[in-house]
């Protein structure tokens, strides 16, 4: 089966600066792929290119067999922006129901998406009155509600407590088990171990595209955090002497 996402030679400039320098990567279907890298490394830009809202300089991005951003994909791709993009002056339920309607889903499915992110008890609350973590889960519910084939999540677990984070990751794997493809960005390395595959990005360049086990093996250490440090240093020999 073809890959869910195929990126070839992707170059993106933002604000007069080159943000992505020729990325080549693939994401297999029915898996949870982690997109990891430090803040400012280009994770969000790559995700924006995949959902088709980013102007790209050169290269191609193919999503579910068609060019990224093409109209049929709008029914098949769900996108969670990094900042919670829900209406603060609507309740959680009203937000979920609106995004459900856009995807042709009914109210019951909207309510289920709200329950799935653990917000059932806050469903009637205005999003503006929620805590930061609750707000980003409200936003997540709106990304999941259409049951898209590909779900692109930009830092979905920031600000969540450990129990909720474990719940959310279990939910992501349950979705992957039904054939959904998830691309999840994070700058927290302990989340990398929860992914089926990893894309490690640094300064707009891909420095690893493999399973967590293979990344550990390539670096020769068990700790993923340490493995990433070694890979980064290996990729930048001129800076290896720095702290």
């Amino acid at each position: 089966m073809a890959d869910a996402i195929a990126v070839r030679g992707l170059v993106v400039d933002r604000g007069g600066r080159r943000v992505l320098h020729g990325i080549d990567a693939t994401v297999p279907r029915g898996s949870v792929t982690g997109l990891l890298g430090p803040s400012g490394s280009g994770k969000t830009t790559l995700m924006r290119a995949i959902v088709g809202v980013q102007v790209i300089a050169t290269g191609t991005v193919t999503v579910l067999g068609t060019p990224a951003g093409s109209p049929p994909l709008r029914h098949r791709v769900g996108y969670l922006t990094q900042a919670p993009s829900v209406y603060a002056d609507l309740t959680v339920r009203e937000n979920a129901r609106y995004f459900a309607t856009l995807h042709g889903r009914d109210r019951a499915e909207a309510d289920r998406a709200v329950a799935d992110v653990g917000l059932a008890s806050a469903a009637g609350q205005l999003v503006g009155t929620l805590s930061g973590g609750q707000r980003s889960r409200a936003s997540l519910a709106c990304a999941l509600v259409g049951e898209p084939e590909l779900i692109v999540l930009d830092e979905p677990t920031v600000g969540q407590d450990p129990v909720l984070r474990a719940d959310l990751w279990a939910r992501f794997h349950a979705l992957a088990a039904t054939g959904t493809t998830l691309l999840v960005s994070s700058h927290v390395m302990d989340e990398a171990a929860r992914c089926d595959r990893l894309l490690l990005i640094r300064d707009g360049r891909l420095i690893a595209d493999d399973t967590p086990a293979a990344v550990r093996a390539a670096a020769g250490v068990d700790d993923l955090d340490e493995a990433f440090l070694r890979l980064i240093r290996a990729a930048e020999p001129d800076r290896s002497g720095e702290a």
Binding site: R14, V53, G69, A83, S85, Y87, L90, Y98
Partner: protein, 251 residues
């Protein structure tokens, strides 16, 4: 456009407005307060012989102004909020068509403007004894059309505003010249040629002329219908231009 998505968008925008009780109260109360001011300003001014009283002349045009000014501002801010909070970017990755969003705003705030105009008109007619030769329903219809025009212009201008400060500045740029040149302060045919030419290309001039036609004639006139058609066409043109300037992809 998709009827299901369009109606859901209209409902969503109205629901947001409903949760903001203070804004609703201001939308309803402010025109009434301003009409009261105008009423007492001109209460002791004698009417020129054979002409409507100064209050009648000004109040009639003001009923068209309120929805125009308020809905322009409300739309500019609402659209800017969609941009800055990321909801616009997210919406554009969903099956929603750009016209669903833009016409959704046009319909939702057009309805809000119609309600505002209806309440302001009720106060003007029943409390302050506004007299027009034509029907009050035509006055409300023209005022509601002004609201739609203002929403369309607000959506178009919001494409050129990156910050709240810029969005608010479009209000004097877009609204003030139309107010000054619409014929309320100086009759349009008494203006210098170049001002008249400018006035001729500003849509609000036609809305005001249509209101004045309703004020002076018992039956709707051909001029009034022509003016209404011009204002409606200007609103549709602005919405189409707004759709053309709304990009799914950005840098």
């Amino acid at each position: 456009m998709n009827p299901r998505i369009l109606s859901a968008t209209v409902a969503r925008i109205l629901r947001q407005l409903r949760h903001d009780k203070r804004t609703v109260a201001l939308l309803v109360a402010v025109p009434t307060v301003l009409l009261t001011l105008v009423y007492y300003m001109y209460a002791d001014q004698p009417a020129p012989p054979g002409q409507p009283s100064t209050f009648d002349r000004i109040a009639l045009v003001m009923l068209g102004f309120f929805p125009f000014i308020i809905m322009f501002l409300v739309t500019s801010i609402a659209m800017l909020r969609e941009r800055t909070t990321g909801t616009l970017e997210r919406l554009l990755t969903t099956p929603l068509a750009k016209t669903d969003l833009l016409f959704g705003y046009g319909i939702a705030f057009g309805l809000a403007g119609a309600v505002q105009a209806g309440i302001a008109s009720a106060v003007a007619y029943w409390v302050f004894g506004l007299e027009t030769a034509g029907s009050s329903a035509l006055v409300i219809m023209i005022a509601a059309l002004n609201a739609v025009l203002a929403v369309a212009l607000g959506l178009l201008c919001s494409a050129f505003a990156r910050t709240e400060f810029q969005a608010v500045q479009f209000m004097p740029v877009v609204v003030a010249p139309q107010l000054l040149l619409c014929g309320l302060f100086v009759p349009r045919d008494e203006m210098a040629g170049w001002l008249q030419a400018t006035s001729d290309v500003l849509p609000l001039s036609y809305a005001v002329e249509a209101l004045q036609e309703v004020g002076a004639h018992a039956e709707p006139t051909g001029t009034m219908w022509r003016d209404v058609a011009i204002v409606a066409a200007a609103a549709v043109l602005a919405l189409v231009l707004a759709a053309a300037t709304l990009r799914r992809r950005s840098g």
